[in-house]
C-alpha cells in the first residue's frame, strides 16, 4: 500500500493543519501464472544416418514406409509426449495457438486475447493434459466477455478425442471413458466471446 504525504496533500487542498487527511492507494498486484509444461521428444525417426544400425543400411527397407530420404539429424519429427499443468488445472488465455486444434472454426483471436463464436462455430483443443495421470473427472469453466454461456455446449474427451462426452458448464463430470489425453470442444448456438477457459481434472 502506498501512503501519500498528508502535509503536502493538505497544502494542496488548503485544509487547516489539524485536519488529518490520508490518501491510500492499494498497490497493484500482478500474478505470474505458471502455464502448461509441454515436453516433446525429437527422435531419429527415418532419417538416413551413415553407420546407424537401422537407418544407415543402404538398399534395406527398414519398415518405415520408404521415408529414408533425409540425411543427418535435421528434419526429425518433434512429438508432443507430455502436457502437465500446475495443480492439474489447465488455463487457456488465448495468447497463443499451441492448443488450438485444426477442427476449430471459431475465431481464436490471439491479438485480442479472446475466442469469438458465432452460431454453429466450434472451438476444439489439442491435448491440454497428456500422460499427466489417468483422467477420471474434469470440470470446465469459461469466462464470458459478451453473450451468454447458455449459448455454449461443452464436451470433453479423456482419450484424445475418440470419445466426446457432453458436460455441463462449471459442473464436475465423471468420464464414462477414461484416459490420459484430455481435450475440450465447445459449440456455439449464438454469438459469444470468451476470454478464459479453465479445465480442472483429476
Amino acid at each position: 500500500m502506498t501512503e501519500y504525504d498528508s502535509v503536502k496533500v493538505k497544502d494542496q487542498l488548503g485544509r487547516p493543519e489539524d485536519k488529518g487527511i490520508t490518501i491510500k492507494r492499494f498497490d497493484d498486484t500482478v500474478i505470474p501464472e505458471v502455464g502448461p509444461t509441454e515436453v516433446f521428444k525429437r527422435d531419429i525417426t527415418n532419417s538416413f544416418i551413415l553407420s546407424d544400425a537401422t537407418n544407415g543400411r543402404l538398399g534395406v527397407y527398414n519398415g518405415a514406409g520408404g521415408k529414408q530420404i533425409v540425411l543427418g539429424w535435421d528434419d526429425r519429427d518433434k512429438l508432443l509426449t507430455v502436457v502437465s499443468n500446475p495443480n492439474k488445472i489447465f488455463h487457456e488465455h488465448f495468447r497463443h495457438t499451441y492448443f488450438k486444434d485444426a477442427a476449430t472454426t471459431a475465431d481464436w483471436a490471439v491479438s485480442e486475447g479472446q475466442l469469438n463464436f458465432t452460431t454453429g462455430e466450434i472451438a476444439q483443443s489439442t491435448s491440454i493434459a497428456l500422460l499427466d495421470g489417468t483422467i477420471y473427472k474434469s470440470t470446465i469453466n469459461v469466462i464470458v466477455f459478451s453473450g451468454s454461456v447458455s449459448n455454449l455446449a461443452f464436451q470433453l474427451s479423456a482419450d484424445g478425442g475418440s470419445h466426446w462426452e457432453n458436460v455441463t458448464h462449471a459442473t464436475e463430470h465423471s468420464f464414462t471413458v477414461t484416459g490420459t489425453d484430455l481435450r475440450f470442444k465447445i459449440t456455439a448456438s449464438g454469438t459469444v466471446t470468451v476470454t478464459d477457459i479453465d479445465v480442472a481434472y483429476s
Binding site: T29, E33, P36, T37, E38, V110
Partner: protein, 113 residues
C-alpha cells in the same frame, strides 16, 4: 488494475533474468517451500531461449541427443540469475536415450488477479 503495457513491462523484466533450465529425475509433488529440483542432473543445466508474446513468456529448452542421456526425467526447473530456481514442474517420466532430443516448452502468463 495493471494495464497491458505494465504487464508486458513486467514480462520483459522477468524475461531478462531467466537464464537456464534443467531437468531432474525426482517426480515427487511440488511444494512451495522447495528450493529447486529434488534430484537435478547437472549436465542438463542449459541455456534457454525466450519467446515473448502479449502478457506471456514462453521458455524454450532443448536437451539434445548428446547431452545428459541415460536418465528418465520427471522434473524441470527454470533458473533466474544463474542460481535461483524460479519454478519447478513435474511430469511423467521421459527416458532420454541417445538419438533423442528432449524439448520443453514452458509458458508463463502475467495477469491481474
Amino acid at each position: 488494475m495493471m494495464l497491458q503495457n505494465g504487464l508486458n513491462k513486467i514480462r520483459d523484466l522477468h524475461a531478462a533474468n531467466i537464464d537456464k533450465g534443467w531437468m531432474g529425475t525426482d517426480g515427487s509433488t511440488v511444494e512451495e517451500t522447495q528450493t529447486g529440483l529434488q534430484s537435478g542432473e547437472s549436465d542438463s543445466k542449459l541455456a534457454v531461449t525466450i519467446t515473448s508474446q502479449d502478457k506471456m513468456n514462453v521458455i524454450n529448452y532443448t536437451c539434445d541427443k548428446d547431452t545428459a542421456i541415460g536418465n528418465t526425467y520427471r522434473e524441470f526447473a527454470v533458473i533466474l540469475d544463474g542460481t535461483v530456481e524460479y519454478l519447478r514442474v513435474t511430469f511423467t517420466g521421459i527416458a532420454h536415450a541417445a538419438n533423442d532430443d528432449i524439448v520443453v516448452r514452458q509458458s508463463i502468463f502475467y495477469r491481474n488477479p
